[in-house]
């Protein structure tokens, strides 16, 4: 598989401040990659380096097979970027804004492209209106349309759903999934962890340096054991004691009318546990798995990172 975005130890310093420290990532074609990190983590700085808007202090990177810093023209032609703020000309209409950018991107058939994306994003009816009169979310959608006009193979999206209402955010997420289906490579910077969880094939948790990089499911698994919870009509300590006798059970606690059991392989072991409980006369109402959210993982990583910094 071809790698569409590769960074090799890229760093960026602003004077004394290190914004990005030796970042190594490699994103294959067709992947949706999430870059997660707190405010000031260096996400926007990374995107800017990848479009050659600012030069890395050290290290190198390539996008769509072109080297950042030397093949800038090709990179800009093959990359669509959604910048942190929409950045549209307020005094021009939506249509004029897109037409202007289409000419700079050398779009072959601008009218068709503009119509296509304005319709897809639900702005076609309002194409003649000045962008200054648009709501924040409409401007954001227009900026997404702009990023796509030239059908880029690589998309860099800085907080694509910020400022969007839940319906519009869902529309944009579905839209991103569609773009992925078309084989485009997409990198998303976001604070919305739920979104990253649902949308991204892999995520990087990042704060100046890379803290973790994996699929959302693997990140959860690495940090937390899996747990199941048995809801009983009457949870007794004796049930817990008998369950703790199994070697594979890491822990078992009684909480109200629930037994919370930590174990590595619930698919294999649950039936055994159910049998045991039933034999002891327990009435099982529900069985569920406790799913740690990506947010738990993220907060864990970031908080640990902060603690380390304080200890240093």
């Amino acid at each position: 598989m071809t790698e569409m975005i590769v960074t090799n130890n890229i760093s960026k310093k602003f004077g004394e401040l290190t914004a990005v420290d030796r970042l190594n990532i490699s994103i294959p074609q067709g992947e949706v990659f999430g870059l997660l990190g707190p405010n000031g983590a260096g996400k926007t700085t990374t995107l800017r380096m990848l479009t050659s808007l600012i030069a890395p202090t050290s290290g190198e990177a390539s996008v769509a097979g072109y080297k950042v810093g030397t093949d800038d023209y090709e990179i800009r032609k093959n990359v669509g970027i959604l910048t942190e703020s929409p950045g549209m000309y307020d005094r021009l209409s939506a249509e004029r804004n897109l037409a202007f950018f289409a000419s700079l991107y050398e779009v072959e058939d601008p009218d068709t492209q503009i119509k296509k994306y304005l319709q897809m994003l639900g702005l076609w009816q309002r194409r003649r209106e000045e962008v200054g009169t648009f709501s924040k979310g409409m401007k954001q959608k227009l900026a997404i349309a702009r990023a796509l006009l030239h059908e880029p193979r690589v998309l860099l999206l800085d907080e694509p759903t910020s400022g969007l209402d839940p319906v519009a955010a869902k529309m944009v997420r579905d839209f991103i999934s569609e773009l992925k289906e078309e084989g485009r490579t997409i990198m998303i910077c976001t604070h919305n962890l739920d979104e990253a969880d649902r949308l991204c094939d892999r995520v990087a948790v990042f704060q100046t340096e890379l803290l973790a990089l994996d699929t959302p499911a693997n990140l959860r698994r690495q940090l937390y054991e899996r747990s199941v919870v048995f809801h009983l009509s009457d949870a007794k300590e004796t049930y817990a004691e008998s369950i703790r006798k199994y070697d594979f059970v890491r822990s078992c606690q009684v909480l109200d009318n629930k037994l919370v059991i930590s174990l590595p392989d619930p698919e294999e072991r649950n039936p055994e546990l159910v049998n045991l409980l039933v034999k002891q006369g327990a009435e099982i109402q529900f069985i569920g798995e406790i799913r740690h959210s990506l947010e738990d993982v993220y907060l864990h990583l970031i908080n640990n990172n902060i603690k380390e910094e304080i200890n240093e």
């Binding site: 602003f14 800017r48 479009t51 050659s52 808007l53 600012i54 030069a55 023209y73 800009r76 032609k77 990359v79 970027i81 910048t83 942190e84 703020s85 929409p86 950045g87 549209m88 000309y89 307020d90 005094r91 021009l92 004029r96 202007f100 950018f101 000419s103 700079l104 991107y105 050398e106 900026a143 702009r146």
Partner: protein
């Protein structure tokens, strides 16, 4: 080239919606045409001219020499006109400096500069587009005003000798050579300054900075420190040409994507 032109068109669509810019482009020329014409008209009506003609010997000798053989009254008129004509050189600096500084500082404050710089446009193409957007209207307005002024003068005075002198090589060189060069000067100065500032209110100040050297020239001429004639004009044009080239070079050097994006103040 096509991209530059697209930038130019975009600028015009945007900038001409700005009241301040429209004001400079429309009212300044009207003012600069009307004031000298009204003055000339009053002079010709009140007999002030013949009075001045009678005391033609009181006009400093170096100034009389500028009249190149015009009679006393016509010489006095010419000396009045010449002061005003220099105002026509302020226009080609003020207008482009106003447009260019608004157009760059504006892109910064509306955050459109980053998506713009992320497109495959070269710095030269971008600056060329912005410069054309500023220079073309400025030079056009200057030329139109000049023609309007000449026509007005002929209507008021009907003095063909005076008109011939205004249409001398020196004046034609000033209006059709020096004026465009001054426009380019105004633009490159505006580009240089506006890459360093973010506040649109500062952008308003830029044009007034740019005309300072011109006002110096104007004063020097009024006080007889220098005499405008064809050879001085040629020198001014040549020096301006060199200054323009240097300034344009510096402007393109200063206009680096990274610096502009990261040196937010």
């Amino acid at each position: 080239m096509n991209k530059s032109w697209q930038v130019t068109l975009k600028e015009w669509r945007e900038v001409f919606k700005n009241k301040m810019v429209l004001y400079v482009i429309v009212f300044m020329p009207i003012l600069f045409i009307l004031i000298p014409l009204i003055t000339l008209y009053q002079m010709s009506g009140s007999g002030a001219l013949s009075e001045m003609a009678g005391s033609a010997d009181q006009i400093p000798a170096e100034m009389v020499s500028m009249c190149e053989g015009l009679s006393g009254a016509a010489c006095a008129q010419y000396l009045v006109v010449i002061q005003f004509l220099l105002l026509f050189l302020i226009m080609p600096v003020m207008i482009p400096a106003t447009i260019a500084s608004y157009s760059i500082v504006g892109e910064k404050s509306t955050k459109t500069l980053e998506p713009l710089l992320a497109t495959p446009i070269t710095t030269i193409e971008l600056l060329l587009g912005k410069s054309m957007a500023a220079v073309i209207p400025a030079v056009t307005v200057t030329w139109i005003s000049f023609v309007a002024f000449i026509v007005g003068t002929i209507i008021i005075l009907g003095n063909t000798d005076l008109v011939t002198l205004i249409l001398s090589p020196m004046w034609l060189l000033l209006i059709f050579g020096v004026a465009p060069l001054l426009s380019v000067f105004g633009v490159s100065a505006a580009v240089m300054i506006s890459t360093r500032v973010n506040d649109p209110r500062v952008a308003e100040q830029i044009p007034s900075l740019v005309i300072i050297p011109l006002i110096g020239l104007f004063m020097a001429q009024t006080f007889g420190l220098i005499q405008m004639n064809l050879s001085v004009t040629i020198w001014i044009a040549l020096i301006l040409l060199v200054i323009d080239i240097v300034m344009l070079y510096i402007a393109t050097q200063l206009f680096q994507r990274e610096k502009i994006l990261t040196k937010w103040k």
